[in-house]
Symmetry: C2
Subunit: 372 residues, 2 copies
Amino acid sequence: MSSVGSDVGIVSTQYFRSTRPLVLQSGSVLEDLVLAYETYGALNPKQDNAVLLLHALSGDAHAAGRHSANEKHPGWWDAMVGPGKAFDTSKYFVICSNVIGGCKGSSGPLSTNPNTGAAWQADFPVVTIQDMVAAQTHLLDFLGIEQLFAVAGGSMGGFQALEWMAHHPNRVKKSILLATSASHSAQAIAWNAIGRQAITRDPLWCDGFYHSDAPPQYGLAIARMIGHLTYVSEASLAQRFPLRYQTATGPGYSLADEFGIESYLNHQAEKFNQRFDANSYLYITKAMDYWNIAQPGQSLSEALADWTGSTLVISFDSDTLYPTSESALIAEHLREKNVPVEFHELHSIAGHDAFLLESSLQTPLIQKFLQA
Amino acid sequence: MSSVGSDVGIVSTQYFRSTRPLVLQSGSVLEDLVLAYETYGALNPKQDNAVLLLHALSGDAHAAGRHSANEKHPGWWDAMVGPGKAFDTSKYFVICSNVIGGCKGSSGPLSTNPNTGAAWQADFPVVTIQDMVAAQTHLLDFLGIEQLFAVAGGSMGGFQALEWMAHHPNRVKKSILLATSASHSAQAIAWNAIGRQAITRDPLWCDGFYHSDAPPQYGLAIARMIGHLTYVSEASLAQRFPLRYQTATGPGYSLADEFGIESYLNHQAEKFNQRFDANSYLYITKAMDYWNIAQPGQSLSEALADWTGSTLVISFDSDTLYPTSESALIAEHLREKNVPVEFHELHSIAGHDAFLLESSLQTPLIQKFLQA
């Protein structure tokens, strides 16, 4: 999991405010569209070197670098973005756009409802992956980029990349799909649904209109624990917790927490509560659960009928959330269409999270694909 | 999944009260041990045809038959127990013993604490798989059975069967281990731990001393949904929910439940709340998470050093909770000891639940093993 290249240094998040309202798939109209984004590297004079990175459920626009010299952790994909890295900022103008519906600076339940002057909360319109990408087209228009050199994303980021391929094929040349799927499986929907149940059954949720200093933390904690466990593999957990007990060497014979994994999950949940909004968790998981690139009655090939660009598809053998079979299906349909596609199943014990962690495995494949 | 043989008819649960206190692994003493159990068939004069069935997390003593002619569902393993069935009651005296710590008639948090005259609730001592089996030895003594012809169990029932093999090898001739493991994996512990978090974070849990008419239903609902999803496979869910939406054909664009799997999980959770106690869920999952047949520093072969009987080990290829690798490990260690062992990985899409559902696959293997 070692990294190559150098870092992008100090960066800052930008906020784009659209001059055009965004018509959502539901028919609702978002009059006041804001997107948080970051850019790394420079747009070339021909404006043909832009690469758009698309993030997963709990991600944000801060993909690389640090916001200040003393920021503890760099952006979420720092190992992959920078001079000489997979997304080489000495060659490409790399953009990372946040999604709508979230809580990381873009329009979402924490944004102000212009009708009331208060936060939207559960009155925010329900959005889809298609809506997230439609919002990003406004950002590209603003940045003056007609065609992206590439889109790239893992997990829900891959959903967005597929959406670009299906509905905006002329605006993208190459697409990189990591640990993703063309539609949400029953099991993937179910895990998200249990997370939503945990939030909406938390008495503090208050039908989505909770007080900002009394959010449904317990519900969001459980949702995050469930999510987290679907992102990792038994092998990675066994490696992290070779001794099952946190401090003792055997059972404490009490109802208290005593396993290493319990303490770890509690810690993950606490951190998540500090950085994520419970309503946003509902909105984004809904968008994921609606996800199916094919419309009813349509095949995957039909959904991608207009796509003629090149695609790199990568899956990981320990990913049980979006298993290799789902990536293979995408690759197979693209091959049937006779468009260039390259498919790799990589070996990793990191589970679904591998796309965030296995930079040294992904980097050479991505570099070669972008240079080809 | 068709069944063979005929049914055991009308049966009733018996309650055994021990005349001896039970010393638990924790050192606590259960002065007043009660075990619920059922029997089917007859003990032969030589008393050498008794088969003890051991149940899983949410099971009970009611393995087969009906308690009354109008009982809607028969016992949980009815397809496997009866004249001509896998556990042939025309040949064997079949006993199914409930576990301590639960809420199905045996000593557990709903039992009366003799010191207070009220229910134990969270003051009930924490029990282990070893304790569950130790309690069952009291029942066997009472029934006058020195040696069981066989023990058999799936999932946590398999833990108990392994416990019989390790610590009471002279009291068992044959052992049947279905969809089980010799120790709880980090992932299996983690899923249980999240379920416990959901219960103990429910404000109605009240540190385990909730009012009987206001139990932590939301917490137990989430715990059950998590558990249920680890028992089934994506293939079985996809088969059950070919259309993702419950009633509509597409997104409803609201935060309300709308997926078929959501409605299904809510229904499962509601049914579970009607039949299970939240504290019992904590106690039994704790016992499962402590589960490791090997003591610290001991190998699996060492743990089973005194076992000389025959063992039938069955796993299912879609079981991700106790995957084939964990059954294979047990079979391998028994082979190393040169004791008779037969191991089969069966194909099923039913996931971990296959041991409850795939009676036609298991029946011939079990019949042959018991007759050999």
